[in-house]
């Protein structure tokens, strides 16, 4: 060892007393490579705040922070990145469900305050915001599985010969594979009117724990097998996986979970306090809203009786929805659980004015969900001719076992689920079917898949057609006369565009039946005048407050009569609201007002 080496540490100490200085360095900064993984960028308009990026980050470098109010399909949160933790692996970019997240190729950024080394890309402005270079999700590559596991269905040519269920259902493998696509973002929960625990039950299906899935499902839906088959699936419309791929088959997964069990009572373990012991509630109408109120109040210990005019509970899901979509055994399973929960069920029993008054006297609260049981009329000349019938009547007669005949050809007027169901039932009864709808195909309220299924079964769709009148022909057939429509803008932004008749043009269609399915309305003849006067509006709906209670204290309502969406899950959501409302009302010691 030389003397120089021995003295070296002392030389270093000498430096300690000299003034610090910076060695000027030439600007040797090299730009990052084109695909370098530098600071994040985010197109915040495209981002939906699903949080999948935060979930995948192995360093917990991403927090989801609120930047705006949540709306359906957007949580209002955006990822905030902590560069003290980020290791620039870009997993977050590769998994991003919308493709909004990227990384610029910028990698230098000097900050004295380490707190500032966290920012929300796209919200906190940065010099690299517009950067074109850096890391992006590669075209055709994603960590998300974009394709849905296809649902096996009966062949259209075969299914019109039978009443068998069209959808076959997933096998265990198919269901678990489909469930594994879920990123658990929960955007669907906010979009579901009943706020079902969707990611939880999908997760349980993925893990093969179907009992747990059913527990999650039954927590806020007492007709899940019905919803699993026919729900309007607002959830799927916002599924973040659906933005770049196909949305999760949420409805089919729910259906799968419920189909795994013959007797729900054996597997469900509702953990609720029986707070309602000693309280009595009457439910008028056995549709989804009434069933919801009856079931959840019964498991909470209330004494509940449900009155239904038809021979079976289920409401429109029994008398309206055809069995090839929602078979009887599925409905019976759900009704069976209702009985086992202790609900007293009185079917074939229409409540009339005096009984309603008596029920008010004898119960602590009353709920009615009597639905939209009457059809609106076409309103055009010739409507009263023999052969012009109503879809609701046709479906109801068919489902209670009456003989129905539709002849060789029918035109169904309308574009909702009722119209599609009447068309497909008519097709199965052997008729050639045309649907006449006033607006465009994309405006049809019926489920897209239902429309496609109808077309696959050979049903013809004539859009922008306005009924003008119906005439009787000498050959005994009906002449359905319609005029073409042009579309004019809606009254308010986001409303339905309106069809305007182009006058002077007439088209003719010869048919055996004109089946009217333009809309339904509530019926109030059974209700005492003093109650109807107080609770019914000038449009034929019933108004309720945030607890589901009408203007009459102690009388609650829900379902199609109340909400504007008129689907089964909204009726269930109304029922859930009323359950809380009734519990609050009855347990606070208030009694039903008699005036």
């Amino acid at each position: 060892m030389s003397l120089k080496h021995v003295l070296q540490p002392f030389n270093a100490w000498v430096q300690a007393f000299s003034k610090p200085y910076t060695i000027p360095m030439k600007d040797t900064m090299r730009p990052g490579a084109d695909r370098y993984r530098g600071w994040h960028i985010n197109d915040v308009e495209k981002c939906v705040g699903c949080g999948t990026c935060a979930d995948i980050c192995q360093n917990a470098a991403i927090d989801m922070v609120p930047v705006k109010d949540p709306v359906k399909g957007d949580s209002g949160l955006r990822p905030k990145i902590d560069y003290g933790r980020c290791c620039w692996c870009a997993l977050c970019v590769d998994v991003c469900t919308t493709g909004s997240l990227g990384m610029s190729n910028e990698y230098t950024w000097v900050e004295k305050d380490p707190e500032k080394c966290r920012y929300t890309p796209g919200v906190d402005a940065k010099p690299w915001d517009g950067s074109e270079k850096g890391w992006r999700q590669e075209e055709g590559f994603s960590l998300i599985v974009k394709d849905r596991v296809p649902m096996p269905m009966l062949d259209p040519k075969e299914r019109i010969k039978t009443w068998a269920e069209v959808v076959v259902g997933y096998s265990v493998e198919e269901a678990r594979k489909e469930a594994a696509r879920c990123v658990s973002c929960g955007l669907c929960v906010a979009a579901c009117p009943a706020h079902m625990h969707i990611p939880d039950y999908i997760g349980a299906i993925r893990d093969g724990d179907f009992e747990k899935a059913l527990d999650f499902i039954y927590d806020n839906n007492p007709m899940p097998e019905m919803c699993g088959k026919v729900c309007t699936r607002r959830c799927e419309g916002v599924c973040s996986v659906g933005i770049q791929g196909e949305p999760l088959a949420i409805r089919w997964l729910k259906r799968f979970a419920t189909e795994q069990f013959e007797d729900f009572a054996k597997v469900l373990h509702p953990e609720v306090k029986r707070v309602g012991e000693g309280k009595k509630v009457a439910v008028v109408g056995g549709g989804p809203s009434g069933v919801t109120v009856a079931y959840y109040l019964a498991v909470r210990g209330f004494e509940v009786t449900i009155y239904e005019a038809l021979p079976q509970l289920g409401g429109a899901t029994f008398f309206g929805i055809p069995k090839y979509r929602f078979p009887m055994p599925s409905l019976e399973k759900q009704v069976d659980l209702l009985k086992k929960a202790g609900v007293k069920i009185v079917t074939d029993h229409r409540v009339e004015k005096d009984e309603f008054r008596r029920l008010l006297e004898e119960n602590d609260a009353l709920f009615f969900g009597t639905g939209l049981m009457k059809p609106y009329k076409l309103g055009v000349p010739g409507e009263d001719l023999e052969g012009v019938i109503y879809a609701l009547d046709l479906l109801r007669d068919h489902h209670v076992g009456k003989k129905v005949e539709v002849g060789e050809s029918v035109v169904v007027v309308g574009g909702g689920n009722v119209a599609i169901d009447a068309s497909r039932v008519s097709r199965r009864l052997g008729a050639e079917v045309t649907i006449a709808y006033r607006r465009r195909r994309e405006d049809m309220p019926a489920d897209d898949e239902e429309i496609e299924d109808a077309e696959a079964e050979g049903i013809e769709l004539v859009t922008q057609s306005i009924p003008l009148r119906v005439e009787k022909l000498e050959n005994g057939k009906l002449d359905f006369i319609w005029g073409p429509a042009e579309m004019v803008p809606p009254d308010r932004p986001g409303g339905r565009p309106k069809p305007k008749l182009i006058e002077g043009v007439e088209n003719h269609l010869q048919v055996d039946r004109v089946i009217v399915a333009i809309g339904q309305k509530g019926e109030f003849e059974w209700m005492p005048e003093e109650v109807a006067e107080k609770v019914v509006t000038s449009r034929g709906w019933v108004e309720v407050d945030e607890t589901g209670m009408t203007q009459w204290p102690g009388i609650f309502a829900g379902g199609d009569l109340v909400n504007s969406t008129a689907d089964a899950i909204s009726a269930i959501a109304d029922g859930l609201k009323a359950v809380e409302g009734i519990q609050q009302f009855t347990l606070e010691g208030l009694s039903v007002s008699k005036s």
């Binding site: 007027v413 006033r438 009924p467 003008l468 803008p489 019914v536 509006t537 034929g540």
Partner: protein
């Protein structure tokens, strides 16, 4: 019919609205259907609002008619002509209301031919446009309530 002044035309229009209000009031009284009854009552209120607007124009508090330009659907033209019965429904009530607005529009359009001067003609045109707007609004309600699935 001949009008000599704008005031006269507006007085006439006010009387028409009052007549319509009485007509709806009578139907509200006689209807047995709760929904139709409530609808007719609402229409009484509507006609009162129209009347108040005309009076405001007459007294100079409002400078003129200001329709919202609701698009026409030509729905009234194809629907039948229901007549009042005690058990009339909301649907029929709406059609009656749509037809009444259409008739009022046609009446003012017809009266234009008898207008002595341009100013009178303009006010009749304004009244006709107002009625057309009411018709379009009733058609819109009909479309939303009755034709929810069509």
């Amino acid at each position: 019919m001949e009008f000599n002044s704008i005031q006269e035309v507006l007085d006439f229009a006010v009387r028409q609205e009052q007549k319509a209000g009485r007509f709806y009031g009578l139907m509200a009284e006689k209807s047995t259907d709760v929904v139709a009854r409530k609808f007719f009552r609402e229409m009484v209120g509507e006609e009162r609002k129209h009347e108040a607007k005309l009076k405001a124009i007459k007294s100079g508090k409002l400078s003129g008619f200001s329709g919202q330009g609701t698009p026409q659907m030509n729905l009234t033209e194809v629907l039948g002509e229901p007549v009042f019965r005690e058990d009339i429904t909301l649907q029929e009530g709406l059609i009656i209301a749509m037809r009444a607005e259409k008739d009022a529009y046609e009446m003012y359009e017809g009266l234009k031919a008898f207008a002595r001067d341009e100013e009178l003609k303009k006010i009749l045109e304004g009244l006709a446009a107002e009625e057309l707007e009411h018709k379009a609004r009733m058609e819109s309600i009909y479309d939303q309530v009755v034709q929810r699935e069509n």
